[in-house]
């Protein structure tokens, strides 16, 4: 199959050509605005009225896809092409039972009778390893988890034995541990059939592990194509290099390396520069770059859209900027430092509405135990990373520290003094010392106030300054986050996601808080922008010496940024360790799984991920004993199911692990499997 096209009106895709052979997996990498989504829709010929292919064509085998009429198109959709989409929940019809939605395919395409279609459905459900396929088949989409929904969609896609399978970020919205399982499942099923696969994602680690060839897209153009190994060890385009530099890898910490963000921004659709599209942001752009480069063959099946690719290949020029060295700062775990924040034995639960039946029978209210007996200490001037998947309670903890969530038990102490858990009872000084930056840039700022008006509020309200002084401070503040003074008059609608987060960060530090909480601040941003924000966070911390509670599901980012790391699962802490120790055994089994689930770019250190059975427990029904026991690969028996573990402290590293398994046992078996290069299997 081959593709080549440009798209309508605003050029979403410009002159992209590539081909995928049967049995090959082609990865397509790009950030937002790269055009990869449009490309996917175009490949499927599902652009609708919004876009069309203006030039070029897409060939499935020998068949030109542009030439197909509606009838033929539907035939093709039904028999040759399949999509596993990004958001499983909304891709399933909420009013039809899941089994029926799959059986439908067999009835229409294969003309099977109803009972036969049902059987086929159940067979496929088993193939995608859905637990209890019968029950799932009679369920509605909202009754099954995200991971299960995605398996259903995978079954749908693969059941027609397509010649082309398109995967559009199939695991982006799923938890990391589930992601690992699904990705391997997809890989396994693909290898059974000899189909061509187009794998679209922004995650370089996934590409490295599962793809045979990779195309890199930037702002509507294809800028490089190569084998993943070659691409990641020796990229031949400045953009690819920039991407690699901006992502934290295991082992890199903020003390040693500054991430290199790509300066500038991705151009808006249709507003690219003339000449090489990457020119405005390229560190090695020269005169000739004002001419648009074509895709140059770069030896051995490689392609690069850079005029200077040969120089890059020969290392004559270096696109990689040497990061400035940073004075290492001594960080001990609470040695002689005052504690900024302490949580002692904090538990939080949400009451549920009682159903009328229960009420009449006098049954007590059920509650969702969101957070269970958490102890945390954040020494001043340090960063604590809190890592967990969905439902872990990490955001709930953040909100309780900020006073937005009441706690059922326990104490929150700021500078050793306990503070009320309700916002309304806190005084202004306390408010000044605690600030937070939320996850979603779209909601972070009031769209009706200018940046300046938003930023001066903390000065006026929390620091009691008069307006004129506050305005002056606002300019300083903007500088501190590397925005020009002109931004003060802009509205949030005019800013990019990265700029909004900077402003949010500025507002967070305006009052010079003692503790700044960052709740997934970069998850919604493009990869190349994330690095800039991370750097900024570090810089600000060096200036103000504030403590940071950094919450994320991304262990790699936390590994880069945090001094101490706490791992939380379904409301209970599982492990607390220094950054330098977390990635070495002994690990808590959950931490072990988390670490192994992250796809690595560097193929040399890749290892098989550990698969956790089952799903994240429903917060209403948290397992007894150790909450992790239902999925723990190192489950040792009844004690895990019945008794809550106790905290074990590793004398060498002061690491704390919440597990029944003795530390020496963990250490020996985990050290061994790392050296084997095999996972737990």
């Amino acid at each position: 199959m081959a593709y080549r096209q440009g798209n309508d009106w605003l050029q979403a895709v410009r002159d992209v050509s590539f081909h995928i052979n049967a049995g090959e997996t082609y990865g397509l990498v790009g950030e937002s605005g790269s055009g990869k989504t449009t490309l996917v829709l175009a490949v499927l010929r599902y652009l609708g009225s919004k876009g069309s292919i203006i030039s070029g064509d897409i060939y499935l085998g020998d068949q030109s896809m542009r030439a197909l009429d509606d009838q033929e198109l539907r035939q093709m959709w039904g028999k040759q092409v399949a999509l596993v989409p990004q958001n499983p929940q909304s891709s399933l019809n909420p009013s039809i039972r899941v089994g029926e939605q799959v059986a439908e395919i067999f009835r229409y395409q294969n003309k099977l009778s109803e009972p036969d279609a049902k059987l086929q459905t159940l067979e496929w459900f088993q193939k995608v390893r859905l637990p209890d396929p019968e029950r799932v088949a009679t369920s509605y989409p909202h009754q099954i988890s995200g991971g299960m929904q995605q398996r259903v969609l995978i079954a749908m896609a693969l059941s027609i034995s397509p010649s082309l399978l398109v995967l559009d970020e199939p695991t982006t919205n799923l938890d990391v541990t589930i992601q690992a399982v699904i990705l391997d499942l997809i890989d396994e099923l693909i290898s059974e059939q000899n189909m061509a696969v187009l794998y679209v994602t922004h995650n370089l680690g996934v590409i490295s592990r599962y793809c045979d060839r990779v195309g890199v897209m930037y702002a509507s153009e294809l800028v490089e194509e190569a084998h993943p190994k070659e691409l990641f060890s020796e990229p031949l385009h400045p953009y690819t290099q920039g991407l690699l530099d901006s992502i934290p890898q295991f082992g890199e910490t903020k003390d040693r390396i500054r991430l290199q963000p790509i300066l500038g921004q991705i151009p808006a659709i249709g507003q690219g520069p003339s000449g090489c599209i990457f020119r405005p942001r390229c560190p090695v752009a020269i005169e000739v770059c004002t001419n648009r480069p074509s895709l140059f063959p770069a030896g051995g099946n490689r392609l690069s859209r850079c005029h200077r690719w040969q120089e890059i290949a020969l290392d004559d020029i270096s696109v990689q900027q040497t990061p400035p060295s940073i004075e290492r700062q001594q960080k001990g775990m609470a040695e002689g430092r005052s504690e900024t924040l302490e949580l002692e034995n904090v538990s939080i639960s949400f009451p549920l509405q009682r159903s009328l039946n229960d009420f009449l029978r006098g049954k007590p209210r059920k509650g969702v135990q969101a957070v269970n007996k958490v102890d945390l200490v954040i020494p001043s001037g340090t960063t604590l990373g809190l890592v967990g998947e969905s439902g872990s309670g990490k955001t709930t903890i953040a909100r309780s520290i900020m006073g937005l969530q009441s706690i059922r038990a326990g104490v929150i102490k700021l500078h050793k003094v306990s503070i009320p858990d309700q916002l309304s009872r806190r005084d202004l000084e306390t408010l000044r010392q605690l600030q937070i930056v939320f996850q979603n840039p779209q909601e972070a700022l009031n769209p009706h106030l200018t940046v300046g008006e938003t930023l001066r509020r903390p000065f006026i309200r929390l620091l009691g300054l008069p307006r004129s002084e506050a305005d002056a401070k606002v300019i300083d503040l903007l500088e501190a986050v590397h925005l020009t003074a002109a931004y003060a008059n802009r509205y949030p609608g005019e800013l990019s996601g990265g700029e909004i987060q900077r402003v949010a960060l500025a507002r967070g530090i305006a009052s010079r808080p003692d503790l700044l909480i960052l709740d997934e601040p970069i998850s919604s941003l493009d990869v190349s922008v994330q690095a800039a924000i991370l750097n900024l966070v570090n810089e600000l911390q060096r200036d103000i010496q504030n403590s940071i509670l950094f919450i994320s599901h991304n262990l790699a980012v936390i590994g880069y940024l945090a001094d101490q790391i706490a791992v939380i699962y379904v409301g209970t802490l599982m492990e607390i360790a220094r950054q330098s120790d977390l990635f070495q055994p002994p690990h808590h089994p959950y931490t072990e799984a988390l670490i192994s689930a992250i796809p690595q770019i560097d193929p040399q250190t890749s290892h098989l991920p550990i698969h956790l059975d089952g799903e994240m427990p429903d917060p209403v029904n948290i397992p007894t004993g150790c909450p992790f026991h239902t999925r723990c690969p190192r489950f040792i028996g009844e004690i895990c199911a019945n008794t809550a573990p106790r905290w074990q402290i590793d004398p060498r590293t002061e690491k704390r692990i919440f597990c029944h398994i003795p530390l020496e046992d963990l250490l020996s078996s985990q050290a061994q499997s790392t050296s084997d290069g095999t996972g737990l299997e």
Binding site: S32, I266, L404, F438, A444, N446, Y491
Partner: protein, 297 residues
């Protein structure tokens, strides 16, 4: 204020200074034929309502017996009615009745409704519960019925009609505003404002209210149309109005008995009502489309 440049990573709208925005808003209303037509009609009627005493050739109750029951002519553009009153003048002056009554009623209903909506939405708690229960029970009775019920028991005057409009429409507006407040409240910037120690008043007025305004505008336009509808219907039923008031609905009722003789006395007021209502509806629809441009339409 600034050039409208949207970057690809963001999709919040741009918000320039408020009066320019208002102008821009009207511009956009007029740019589409359907809503432009509606807005134009509404504006014409509003202007007529304001200046009607100046342009009406005859008084509302001026009886010219000799000219009774005349079809439209040069002297009486819309003819005369059963009693000899100039229909044209009555229609013009009647616009005051209907539009002013409906207008102010809507205005107050919107004001009170917004107030309640903001407070119940933001505060929650028992205040919210109780107020909403009361409003719900008011809403359980269809508008016209409630109006009849209230007017049936209190004095029959223009002011009672005004009061009734306010009582009937405040709950609906409150509900609508409340639901917007509830949607906006959990957003990041609101919580950050609370965490920044901002006073409740400031949060309501500066942070929440601006997000409420788009929905409120649409709702207000709709309410206005319903209010006109209500006043006209009440007039037709003979409730809340005293003859010889030039209320269009009443005019229709009075003319009904003589419809075979003087159909124009019924036609013109009815046409006026229809035109105004259609105009306001079209305008309201236009407002709605403007306020939610991402809606698939």
């Amino acid at each position: 204020m600034n050039s409208i440049s949207k970057s690809s990573n963001n999709s919040l709208g741009v918000v320039p200074s408020w009066w320019r925005r208002l102008l821009q808003f009207f511009q956009q209303l007029f740019s589409r034929p359907v809503s432009g037509f509606g807005t134009a009609i509404t504006l014409v009627f509003l202007i007529v309502a304001l200046i009607s005493p100046l342009i009406a050739p005859y008084g509302a109750n001026e009886i010219i017996v000799a000219d009774a029951r005349q079809p439209p002519s040069n002297e009486h553009w819309f003819g005369t009615d059963n009693l000899g009153r100039d229909v044209y003048s009555r229609v013009l002056l009647g616009s005051r009745e209907v539009l002013v009554l409906a207008g102010f009623g809507t205005l107050f209903a919107v004001l009170f409704g917004t107030l309640f909506g903001l407070m119940t939405g933001y505060q929650g708690g028992w205040f919210d519960e109780i107020t909403m229960r009361i409003f719900d029970s008011l809403l359980a009775i269809p508008a016209l019925l409630l109006a009849l019920l209230l007017l049936g028991t209190i004095a029959n005057s223009k002011y009672s009609v005004l009061l009734v409009i306010v009582v009937i429409y405040t709950p609906i507006v409150a509900r609508v505003v409340r639901s917007v407040v509830l949607a906006v409240k959990p957003q990041g910037f609101i919580e950050t404002a609370r965490l920044g120690g901002e006073s409740r008043t400031r949060i309501l007025l500066r942070e929440i209210l601006p997000s409420v305004i788009p929905t409120l505008s649409v709702e207000s336009a709709l309410r206005f149309s319903y209010a006109i509808f209500l006043v006209a219907s009440l007039g037709f039923l003979g409730v809340g109005v005293q003859p010889p008031s030039p209320n269009w609905g009443l005019m229709v009722k009075e003319a009904r008995a003589y419809v075979t003789l003087i159909p124009w006395a019924l036609f013109f007021p009815a046409a006026a009502i229809s035109l105004v209502v259609i105009g306001v509806n079209l305008m309201a629809d236009g407002v709605k489309r403007l306020m939610s441009p991402d809606q698939i339409d």
